[in-house]
Structures are given as C-alpha cells and as structure tokens.
Point group: C2
Chain length 129, copies 2
DNA sequence: GCTATAGTTAGCTTCATGGCTAACCAATCG
DNA sequence: CGATTGGTTAGCCATGAAGCTAACTATAGC
C-alpha cells in the first residue's frame, strides 16, 4: 500500500515534466536509443539521462544496453497505475452524484410527508452545489 | 501551448504527492473546510496549507473563504486536462499498432512479390521498430 | 469584551530536482 | 591501431519543495 502509493508518486512526478512527457509520447510510437530521444532537446546528455533515469525509476520506461547504444521502450502497463487512480476518483465522484440524487429523493419524500402534516421550513441544504 | 504544458506540469506535480491525492479524493466526495481536510494528516497547518495552495495553483481545487473558514471544492474539469493527455497517448499507441500491422502487411506483400522476382534488400527503416 | 477557533504570514531548515562541465569508458569504424 | 561515437560518472550550482515553529489576524461564541 505504502509502496503502491510511492509508485504513483513516481509516475505522476515523472509525468510532471514536459521533457519527460514528450519522451513518453515519443516512445509510445516505438522504441528509440537515448541519443535519438535526446536529439530534439536542447540539453546536455547527462542532464537528459537524468530524465531517462526518472522515467525508468517510475517504471514507465525500460531500457537495455546492447553494444554501446541503450535502447528505451515504453512499458504501457505502468501507465495503468495512473489511469486506475483516475478511475477510482471517477468512482468516488459517481458515488457522490448518486448520494446527491438519493439526498434529493429523501428531500422529496420529506416534503411529501410534510405536505400531509405541516409545511415546515426547508432545511438549509449544504455541501453539494 | 506552452501555457498548456505548464498547466499539465502543475496538475501532475500536484498529483505526485500522497497527501494531495488524498485531499483530491476526499474533495471528490464533497466540499470541505481546510480544517476538516487537514484533520487526518499528522502535519502542522501551515505545511498543510502549502498543499492546498499547490492544488489551487494547479486548478484542481477551488477555495472560498467565508467568515473565518475556507471551504474547498474540487474542480472536476481540471482533471480532464490530465485525462486528455492519457487519451492522446493512447491514440499514439493505437496508431503505432496500426502502423505495425500495416508494416506486417507490407512485408507480406513484398514476400509474395519476391516470390515472383527476387528478395531485394529492404531499405533501412529507422525509428519505428 | 474576552477567549477560543480557523487560517495566515514570516522565516527557517533540509533535501530533491534540473541543469551544467569535464573527464572517463567502451564499442565501432576506417 | 587510433579516432569517433554513444553513454556514463562525478561533482558543482541554483532553485524550489516540504516540513517546522512562532507570532499574528480575524471571526464566533459565551
């Protein structure tokens, strides 16, 4: 769990940089060497390598060295972790809407019941737009 | 565009912290005061406020102060930016698969034709696996 | 009006990040 | 073999992030 969380930390942190996002995009189209990846960026190689390392540490990218060239490729399954988080968020959001709907229903019922008894002051609603 | 990019930077950076992710989750269920939000965390208020500020700067959260209590609520549309990025990524990915498929088709055709003629050296392709 | 509550401001540490240069392997290629 | 190419290591610097305490402001409640 704590590990899970720090994995997400790393993934999101990795994506919080335009260079690294661009690299991910690029790798999405197919594997490439470090040199090829670094080419579009105006940056010294060692600096660029740090980005590659960050991506690798996050699990988003995998690299292998053969001869003197290191080839990187995307690990699409790592992205699932992040997307899952959004999914989970969406679930909570939906639940919220459901709850709101349920709340409205409850209000309606109360109103009906009140109609039979006495027109009481509408309870001040709060907390959901 | 550059602005767009830095917005994404902020969003992903905001999500790259367990505390802030938890806050987002929490707010997803409904709005809450800073105090309520801070309660579960073992952290001084000023420290926590920084997180709230980060979330607000990223556009994920909106807060309003009324009286002495500041109420925060989620801005679901801000999340769309991040999800869109994944969407875009997915599109590139699909394109890649298509291209791969097309490539395989091309190979097949060449093979067939080669059966009639002779297997000529394939031009060295580069950059797309 | 005093006190407790809810945030806020200011200022300080510490550590991580993102960039650089310079020097250093280790494969290729001529 | 010697030079080039492709990465790597090491070390430096500036900035920013994440935490803290202490002191302050402003509302709410009694």
């Amino acid at each position: 769990m704590a590990n899970q969380s720090s994995r997400l930390d790393q993934i999101f942190a990795a994506l919080a940089d335009p260079t690294r996002r661009a690299v991910v995009m690029r790798l999405c189209a197919g594997e490439a060497s470090v040199g090829e990846l670094a080419d579009p960026f105006d940056m010294a190689l060692p600096s660029f390598m740090k980005h590659v390392h960050a991506l690798e540490a996050s699990g988003l990218v995998l690299s292998e060295k053969s001869g003197r060239v290191r080839t990187c490729r995307l690990r699409p399954d790592a992205l699932v972790g992040a997307e899952d988080w959004f999914q989970q968020l969406r679930a909570v959001w939906e639940a919220r809407l459901d709850r709101f709907e349920a709340y409205v229903m409850k209000l309606k019922k109360e109103k009906e019941r009140a109609g039979a008894k006495r027109p009481s002051r509408t309870t001040k609603r709060k907390g959901s737009e």
